[in-house]
């Protein structure tokens, strides 16, 4: 990934308007060669629309799409060096697996023997060497998934587009395929553009993730950045779990602010450019909150509250404790530490919670 | 009383209550032979009700054959379609002449029909409407057409129409100087005649625009001027004459072909009394004249002509000068075997190209 090499895919001010609504609003991004780029966003935010413009099924209203530096405007789908794995895979039901994979090569006019060789090779690489003669309907969900990818990869595209390819799979298989997809990307060493509304998929696999909302990108960055330094309230709320409160700034000094939530809880947060009376949203990750039996354990924290346990949500390593502030009545979601100290925590127990000022992510409220 | 006997009593009462002589007459006939006005008068006079089904010769016989002579109480095939089908399929029942008011019927027609429709000594038909087939000619464009064979004239190329049915075969045979009726009894001789006619019809085919199959089709072809000469029924010609004086029915030089539509009783008819009532009713001169006005053809009712309008009479007289009337060739009963070989001839003509 040298700087002078043109990115595999670049979108400039990409916009798509349908009659009355704007599905994609001036989106800019570039994907370096060989990387795994995800677009993450809620259903209906315009992800598929971007994909279809890149693949050539939709003409952008304005903006440009470049693949390896070459503009794709006016190039029909069958002449673009991108291939797409469809939301429901769209394998050809009238052909067997080998015919499915060989389809693109046949279209390129590759010789029969060569097709057979390359089809066999790609089947090896997806570790399904013996299924060439099977019917598509006889495959398992995971096998189909891999065949759909192989069908594209055999053409050695510059960019592979994947539109929520794991959407139709059950949870277990989805977890497994996440890892496998990442491995496949490394194996083929191709640029993947992956869209999903599942943050788990995006965070695990991607080198870089774009969070999208209502047709526009909110933030583009590495998974860790999005999680720890969300740029907007939307990103903070959409990526990862968080306690969310809305309230007003009661005092602001430099980058420090004191906020009183609508429920009546007083919180200390960090946020720039805030002044007294501003509406804000505050996000606190459950795992950023310290849980303690005694108040001394949270003494150093800017925020500390004595609370009562209202529920225990056991889920192995991801177990949670729901606690309530008796003063304001606010519920707080706290990660359960995996230590013996809390093994016998019970409903109704009196505990203390606390977190630092930096752990309270504060955004000027737009949606409050 | 049990419910069952209640039911029996009710049915019995209903049957008794109905007037014994009022029936439903199911009439199988041609278009125009049972005008609504006549039916109304008849129902008023007799208390019977009439249900009419319109048909043609072939379908009448086919329908009666399919039901073994059931489904209708009175039918009206042509007189040449009675003896043959009766001998073959037994679909009619004999007519009781004592129930017919024979004084109302022209004696010569009554006798001729009786002779033609007698099977094993029983009479099966009474004459009703008669007419002819011959030529319909547009004098302005095809004045030269005087006989069936003139329909082959090259200068009428694409402007001629006729049916592919047996009257055409017979008409052409007469026009070619042959006598098909005389050969009815001799299949081999008849086949010989048919072969000559077939050759002629195949030779004439290029001149023909289309073989018409329904009366409306013929009228449209002649009226629009798409054809200027046709072989058809006299009434068609008279109807066209009313719209366009150039067109009229012409009795061919070799003789028009005369047909008589009759009354017959289907073998399983259930309302014979009503059937006899209808026959006697429509043979009254005034009623018969009403039918003539509707159908365009004259009837065997004695003295009905007086009641017919002058226009129709005038058209009739133009088409039939006295010598042409004498020249009419009446169809004798057609033997089944003859119809079969005629059919083969017709198929071959149609398929030839």
């Amino acid at each position: 990934m040298t700087a002078d090499r043109a990115p595999d895919l670049e979108c400039r001010a990409l916009t798509k308007r349908f009659d009355t609504m704007t599905a994609v609003r001036s989106v800019d991004f570039s994907v370096p060669a060989g990387s795994f780029f995800s677009i993450l966003g809620p259903s209906g935010c315009g992800k598929t629309t971007i994909m279809r413009m890149i693949a050539g099924f939709l003409e952008p209203t304005s903006g440009d799409i470049l693949i390896k530096g070459r503009s794709m405007l006016g190039v029909p789908p069958n002449r673009r060096p991108v291939n797409m794995v469809f939301q429901h895979l769209a394998l050809f039901p009238m052909m067997n697996v080998a015919e499915n994979i060989g389809y693109g090569l046949r279209r390129q006019g590759v010789a029969k023997a060569e097709i057979t060789r390359r089809t066999g090779e790609v089947l090896e690489r997806i570790q399904l060497p013996d299924i060439g003669t099977r019917k598509v309907s006889e495959l398992s969900g995971g096998q189909r998934q891999r065949v759909a990818i192989a069908r594209c990869m055999v053409l050695e595209p510059d960019v592979l587009l994947l539109d929520e390819p794991l959407g139709a799979l059950d949870l277990k298989l989805r977890e497994k395929m996440k890892i496998e997809l990442k491995a496949l990307q490394a194996e083929f060493d191709t640029t993947f553009v992956y869209i999903t509304h599942d943050q788990g998929e995006a965070l695990v696999m991607s080198d870089s993730v774009a969070v999208m909302n209502a047709g526009a990108f909110e933030q583009v960055g590495a998974a860790r950045d999005l999680y720890y330094n969300p740029a907007t309230a939307f990103v903070a709320g959409f990526v990862g779990e968080a306690n969310r409160w809305t309230g007003r700034v009661t005092a602001a000094r430099g980058s420090e602010a004191e906020v009183r939530t609508d429920a009546g809880l007083t919180l200390h947060a960090r946020g720039t450019g805030l002044s007294q009376g501003d509406k804000v949203e505050i996000f606190v990750r459950p795992e950023a909150i310290t849980l303690a039996h005694s108040v001394h354990a949270v003494e150093g924290d800017a925020n500390q509250i004595a609370v009562q346990v209202t529920a225990l949500l056991f889920n192995g390593a991801n177990s949670r404790v729901l606690v309530r502030d008796p003063v304001s009545g606010a519920e707080i979601d706290v990660a359960l530490p995996q230590s013996a100290a809390f093994a016998d925590l019970d409903k109704g127990a009196q505990v203390h919670v606390g977190w630092g000022r930096d752990q309270s992510l504060c955004f000027a409220g737009t949606r409050a | 009383m049990t419910p069952k006997s209640y039911l029996t009593c009710t049915v019995a009462l209903l049957v008794l209550a109905a007037p014994a002589h009022a029936d439903t007459l199911r009439l199988l006939t041609w278009g125009g032979y049972a005008p609504d006005a006549v039916i109304e008068k008849f129902e008023e006079a007799t208390g019977h009700t009439v249900e009419v089904t319109l048909s043609n010769n072939e379908e009448m016989v086919a329908k009666l054959r399919a039901t073994g002579g059931g489904g209708f109480d009175l039918a009206q095939p042509s007189q040449d379609r009675i003896a043959g089908p009766q001998a073959e399929f037994g679909i009619y029942k004999p007519i009781d002449m004592s129930k017919i008011d024979t004084a109302q019927i022209t004696p010569s027609m009554l006798e001729a029909t009786k002779a033609n429709t007698t099977v094993d000594g029983d009479v099966y038909g009474v004459p009703h409407v008669w007419g002819t087939s011959g030529l319909i000619v547009n004098a302005a464009e095809a004045g030269s057409v005087a006989d069936y064979t003139d329909l082959c004239n090259e200068d009428l190329m694409g402007k001629v129409t006729y049916r592919l049915k047996r009257p055409t075969l017979i008409g052409f045979a007469f026009a070619m100087g042959l006598d098909p009726f005389a050969a009815y009894g001799d299949t081999a001789a008849y086949q010989d005649i048919l072969d000559q006619v077939e050759a002629k019809l195949v030779e004439c085919k290029p001149v023909v625009k289309a073989y018409w199959s329904g009366g409306d089709e013929l009228i449209n072809l002649m009226r629009s001027g798409e054809t200027v000469a046709a072989m058809a029924w006299d009434t068609g010609g008279w109807k066209l004459n009313t719209d366009n004086p150039d067109i009229n029915f012409v009795a061919p030089a070799s003789g028009a072909l005369g047909w008589v539509d009759t009354f017959v009783l289907p073998a399983q008819g259930r309302a014979d009394d009503a059937a006899y009532d209808w026959i006697n009713f429509v043979m009254q001169p005034e009623i018969a004249a009403m039918i003539t006005e509707e159908a365009g053809n004259f009837t065997a009712s004695q003295g009905a002509d007086e009641f017919v309008n002058d226009a129709l009479k005038a058209q009739y007289q133009t088409s039939f000068p006295p010598e042409a009337v004498d020249n009419i060739r009446w169809y004798p009963p057609v033997p089944a075997e003859i119809e079969r070989i005629e059919g083969e001839t017709l198929d071959r003509v149609q398929a030839a190209s």
Partner: protein, 286 residues
Amino acid sequence: MTRRLGFFLLLAPLVLWLGLLIIIPHIDMALVSLRARTGPGEYAPSLQNYGDFFTQPLYLMTFARTAIMSVLATLITLIIGFPISYYIAKIARGRSQASLFLLCLIPFWVSELVRTFGWIILLRETGVISNMLQWAGLADQPVEMLYNDAAMMLGLVYTSMLFMVVPLTTTLESLDDAVIEAGYDLGGNGFSVLREIVIPHAMPGIVSGCIVVFMLSLGNYLTPTMLGGKDSLWFTQLIYSQFIVRFNWELGAAFGFCLLGASSLIVWGMLRLSGQTLERTMGEGA
């Protein structure tokens, strides 16, 4: 035991319907076809009627002509119907989709007779089209378009169109748009996507549409009679005239069975050629 009884009671109407209206008349017809007239009202068992069919060139020629023209009508209907169905199923949306479908249905709101008369009014020498051509100066004398095989073909195709469009539209609708797009995405052009993806998918619909249209054309009576020319003898006309005009039920019945047998053979051939089975085409296509 009672469930068994219920099952048979439910089945009874179907069995009765099949038995009374289809099987029994056919058995009767078969018996009629296997006898010959020996004298007035007398018949003897014989194969003569079938013999006639196979030895008279007229009958065989008429049958061959009818079958070939029907196959042709079926092909033309398919060629015209396929783009229409594709448009209805894949391109038109919402209201226009519904109205297009309705457009195919409209001809069936009037009787076949009226429909055929409509064509006569349009095509005849003094008809609408001929007049328009003269008015537009494209013809200097009346043009006769009626009474020939082309007019008859037009009538047959028009009458059959719906029966092709319905199964085709149904199968095409069941083809996921994404599959077609995948075809393009992987380098296919319009033609190869049609040949490798759309047509194979639509095959059951194509075959069932073709079977229905072929049978309808083969069994049509009115259209060949009214629109066809003076040479156009259709096999159903032969059957009609044997039954109705000639009173020769024996030969008519034999013709009927020959038609049934031959058309079954042709349909079987179509299925074999296209690699389909009857269950599949009728199950998926219709």
